[in-house]
Symmetry: C2
Subunit: 192 residues, 2 copies
């Protein structure tokens, strides 16, 4: 654990770049974020940025890899906290509620990135869809605890509902809509 930063008291510039890029890609969008934006935010030079990441695509790749790792760790923690399938599913919905402020202002970080990249950069979209796959597979696994035959269809249905909820919350900047839709989703989970 402490091995990570053994040689430095604080984060390395490389780590800082990834974190700032992660944030800016989410809040401004990937195409609307330039190397200059990232460099200015950190107070470093663009040349330095190119030393750590030869291209913008390489930076996105690294950002997504970090995000995937965080998602995997999140599921591991949830699985440790809850064993009941419905409790696990509701923990997923609770994540949306907890993330209200960001959803209202910036939308779903997975969905918006995927839409942006899918338009004319299919290669990059493939990378971003892998984050979606992590959610889909975890949900399918959890739904299998309830009914293995319906698990895949239900996982896609739940993702569809959460994506729609995130989209509407974002478009209308409406946190009440978020809560109402999350309540409806939780009732659906209870009804299974």
């Amino acid at each position: 654990m402490w091995l990570k930063n053994m040689n430095t008291q604080t984060q390395s510039n490389r780590e800082r770049i990834i974190k700032v890029a992660y944030q800016l890609f989410y809040t401004k969008g990937y195409n609307q974020t330039s190397f200059a934006d990232v460099a200015n935010e950190l107070g470093i030079s663009k040349g330095n940025l190119h030393y750590h990441f030869p291209s913008k695509g390489a930076l996105l790749n690294t950002v997504i890899a970090l995000r995937k790792q965080q998602i995997i760790e999140m599921f591991a923690q949830w699985d440790g906290e809850f064993s009941d399938a419905k409790d696990r599913l509701k923990r997923f919905i609770q994540m949306m509620i907890n993330n209200e402020a960001n959803l209202v202002r910036y939308g779903c970080p997975l969905g918006s990135l995927n839409v942006e990249l899918g338009k004319d950069q299919r290669d990059l979209q493939g990378m971003s869809r892998e984050m979606f796959d992590l959610y889909q597979h975890w949900l399918e696994k959890v739904f299998t605890q309830l009914d293995s035959k319906k698990s895949k269809a239900r996982s896609l249905h739940l993702l569809s509902m959460t994506q729609g909820t995130a989209m509407m919350t974002y478009i209308y900047s409406d946190s009440k809509l978020l809560k109402d839709e999350c309540n409806a989703i939780n009732e659906w989970i209870d009804s299974l």
Copy 2:
């Protein structure tokens, strides 16, 4: 009717520009579409484009105005074809099925544009959200035929479901998912 093109045998360049921009903003995204893209597609010069539309924002404005007009005409036609509330709602869902190929390849034209512009161009997002408002108001009016108290909440819920469906259909390029989710939405409409 024929007055529109009284002086020309075919479309004017201005009309052609709007149509091509409409298409490219949808398929490539607004930020990823340049004046050069539009001009090349039509075989005209960039200077010509700037004669008709002084700025890119002005072009987007005109494209959205056209789109809003088409949406209004679509609702008028549906209202003429169906008087029953549930028939009208199902016509809305049928539109998604009819548009399968585009949804699979490019996603929802309203949702994706709104997400893109909302990231850091809130002024432009306002224009694009007006298209959403047209749908929301029409749906609320139709739901009022069933139950005036629940009409607004139901209109938002239906939009949420359709946005989620469009998003998942797009991300996984999955037309079967589109049909399954549309069937589920139609069942929900029947249950009201």
